[in-house]
């Protein structure tokens, strides 16, 4: 057996997305990409660089600015036998495609009695980076309550690669959420083709005093926080959800049972948020533990740099919450 399985290569998050899509398109000619600027332009974040040259305009298919129809066409094509990746530039715009995604695709297997399904992946980009109130939101919490819908949100290039491959092989529908601030992030990705299954959280840092549960870009904030608090002799475990629906409740419970405290962290709103769901799932199983939730303040996310920074969580805010939690 070769050692290839242990070899890694360094690549940016955006490149890892592109690699996964390229490999799956090469392996399965039913896979195609459609969305705004996915063709010769290579994607809004250059995540599809080079794919247009390989696969051409039929399979790297530019759409007009029409999110409702784009998601609908992708859902219909999926129901008819293709495996489309529909790209919605910002997660805020996914709201326009909710009918096709939620009322049609997510219910199709159920309503047809198992005779039809929609193996559709919607890839969309969440998060704040100076783009204003309707280009910055993280609305994944709205999605995880939809029966039939899978939701994943990678935080590393390796996961971006492995989860995209799983998504494109899934019988869907799947919402794959990346983050504006993650695209330029480098990381090690296996050289060998690998797939990361849904429903598996990853422990990013071991700790004993409290567990921080986060996803997407906030995993980096959680790790930064853990670094800050180490100097204060406060040891944080950081769990990266990776997959929001299905959720890896086993790993979450084991971590919180060890540390005894839970801090949930997300960039979206805390009301009915991912953190609230994480805490509920854990406490339903192991009983209540001290818990603090951190997320955006209850305000829109402005493009104003001062207001944006004031709204979304940063390591200082998370550290402050962690200190409060540790004192309980």
């Amino acid at each position: 057996m070769s050692n290839d399985q242990f070899l890694t290569t360094r690549m940016f998050f955006r490149e890892a997305v592109g690699r996964a899509v390229r490999e799956e398109m090469e392996a399965d000619d039913r896979v195609l990409v459609l969305g705004q600027d996915v063709g010769a332009f290579g994607g809004s974040y250059r995540e599809f660089d080079g794919l247009f040259k390989i696969f051409g305009p039929e399979r790297m298919r530019d759409t007009p600015v029409a999110e409702a129809a784009a998601v609908g066409i992708a859902a219909g094509a999926a129901a008819a036998g293709l495996r489309p990746l529909c790209v919605i530039t910002y997660m805020d715009f996914l709201m326009i495609g909710f009918d096709a995604l939620i009322n049609y695709a997510a219910k199709l297997r159920y309503k047809s009695g198992g005779r039809l399904s929609a193996p559709l992946v919607v890839k969309t980009t969440a998060g704040a980076q100076g783009q204003g109130v309707a280009h910055s939101q993280c609305i994944e919490a709205w999605l995880i309550s939809v029966p039939g819908l899978k939701v994943v949100a990678p935080s590393t290039p390796e996961d971006a690669y492995g989860l995209m491959k799983s998504a494109l092989r899934s019988d869907g529908p799947v919402v794959y959420i990346d983050h504006k601030r993650l695209f330029p992030a480098p990381g090690n990705v296996p050289v060998a083709e690998t797939v990361i299954p849904f429903g598996k959280a990853a422990i990013r840092r071991r700790g004993v005093d409290l567990t921080i549960v986060a996803h997407s870009y906030m995993v980096r904030v959680a790790l930064e926080t853990a670094g800050l608090l180490e100097a204060e002799d406060l040891s944080c475990e950081v769990v990266d959800l990776r997959s929001l629906a299905p959720m890896d409740v086993n790993t979450l419970c084991r971590s919180v049972e060890r540390t005894g405290r839970l801090l949930t962290l997300e960039e979206g709103q805390v009301t009915c948020g991912i953190g609230t769901e994480v805490a509920t799932r854990i406490f339903e199983r192991i009983g209540v533990r001290p818990w603090i939730r951190v997320g955006a303040l209850p305000a829109p996310v402005s493009s104003n740099p001062v207001l944006e920074a004031a709204c979304v969580p940063n390591a200082d805010r998370v550290a402050q919450a962690a200190r409060t939690l540790a004192a309980r």
Binding site: L32, E58, T63, P64, A66, A68, A69, A70, V71, G72, I73, A74, A75, G76, A77, A78, A79, A80, G81, L82, P84, D99, A100, N103, Y104, K107, R109, Y110, K111, S112, G113, G114, R115, L116, P147, G148, K150
Partner: protein
């Protein structure tokens, strides 16, 4: 049975089916197509086995016209496991792709882009199958229609847009719900072939739909057909009727089944006795359909979590 009588026979079956369904107390609420049978039957006459039809929520007549098994359809509408979707879809969401009925989606306008996706698969997968999307004048104000017309035209999708203009969107008259002079004008904006047809005349329906189907099947892209029809019942079996009895009585004179029966009589293609026999045949068939549906049970409550993921 001669081909000349086939459309009438199919329309009578739809009418008998829907009347029998409406008479049941346990049917839930339904969107019936009384007065619109010629649209479904005429269109289906020119669709082929490899084609797919999608509709809005007013799906029963079109599904029957397309050849969905009437017994399984009735079972579906009554919530029984012998239904095409195990009784869980109902009229708003039923599908039977093997019969060329890819399905209903009862969010008004919502199925139009879905149909374009099915058409995209047809185009990329080769073959000469086309897709028809049937929607009402009520959907003509919804954005999905315009977005999909634009993309379907840009991509030359094999998609026939069929607007069944039954003149009313629940209570809102057609003139108050869309600013276009004729609904076919919506298609004209995209420079695709359009036609306006008398949707009460089943043969005219088949002829004009056939011309547009030929265009779509030839790979030249989409086309838009407006069918002028009538809704002879209220919007749904639980909705209030907004028209007067006198007005409805006048409209009933234009019933497409009456018109086709009269035409066949005038042309000596059928006798009054022949018509009566045809009605009796439909009634007998619906008795069997009801017996089949009633023999099937409701799903077990445990089925609620099946086929979610």
């Amino acid at each position: 049975m001669s081909d000349a009588l086939l459309p009438l026979r199919r329309m009578m079956l739809i009418r008998a089916f829907e009347d029998a369904l409406a008479a049941r107390k346990d049917h839930g609420f339904q969107l019936l197509s009384t007065g619109e049978e010629a649209v479904a039957v005429g269109l289906s006459l020119v669709l082929e086995d490899g084609d797919q039809l999608l509709t809005g929520g007013r799906s029963i007549g079109p599904a029957l016209a397309r050849g969905v098994d009437p017994g399984k359809l009735m079972a579906e509408l009554l919530g029984r496991v012998a239904g095409v979707n195990r009784g869980r879809a109902g009229r708003g969401h039923l599908s039977d792709q093997e019969s060329g009925f890819f399905g209903a989606h009862a969010v008004v306008g919502g199925n139009i882009s879905i149909a374009a996706g099915v058409a995209l698969e047809r185009k990329l997968g080769g073959g000469n199958g086309i897709v028809a999307i049937l929607f009402g004048d009520g959907a003509s104000g919804a954005g999905g229609l315009y977005e999909t017309l634009n993309i379907a035209t840009l991509w030359h999708l094999p998609l026939l847009f069929v607007c069944n203009n039954n003149q009313l969107s629940v209570s809102t008259p057609r003139e108050a719900s869309n600013a276009a002079k004729e609904l076919r004008d919506i298609g004209r904006a995209f420079a695709i072939p359009t036609a306006l047809v008398d949707g009460l005349d089943v043969w005219a329906m088949a002829k004009v739909a056939g011309e547009l189907v030929e265009h779509v099947r030839s790979g030249k892209g989409p086309a838009f057909l407006e069918c002028s029809s009538l809704r002879l019942r209220s919007h749904s079996t639980t909705a209030r009727e907004t028209r007067s009895r006198d007005e409805l009585a006048q409209l009933h004179k234009l019933c497409p089944i009456k018109l086709e029966s009269a035409r066949l009589l005038t042309e000596d293609q059928i006798t009054n006795a022949g018509l009566e026999e045809m009605r009796a045949d439909a009634a007998r068939q619906i008795e069997d359909v009801m017996a089949f549906a009633d023999a099937s049970p409701y799903p077990e409550p445990e089925e609620v979590l099946a086929h979610v993921e």
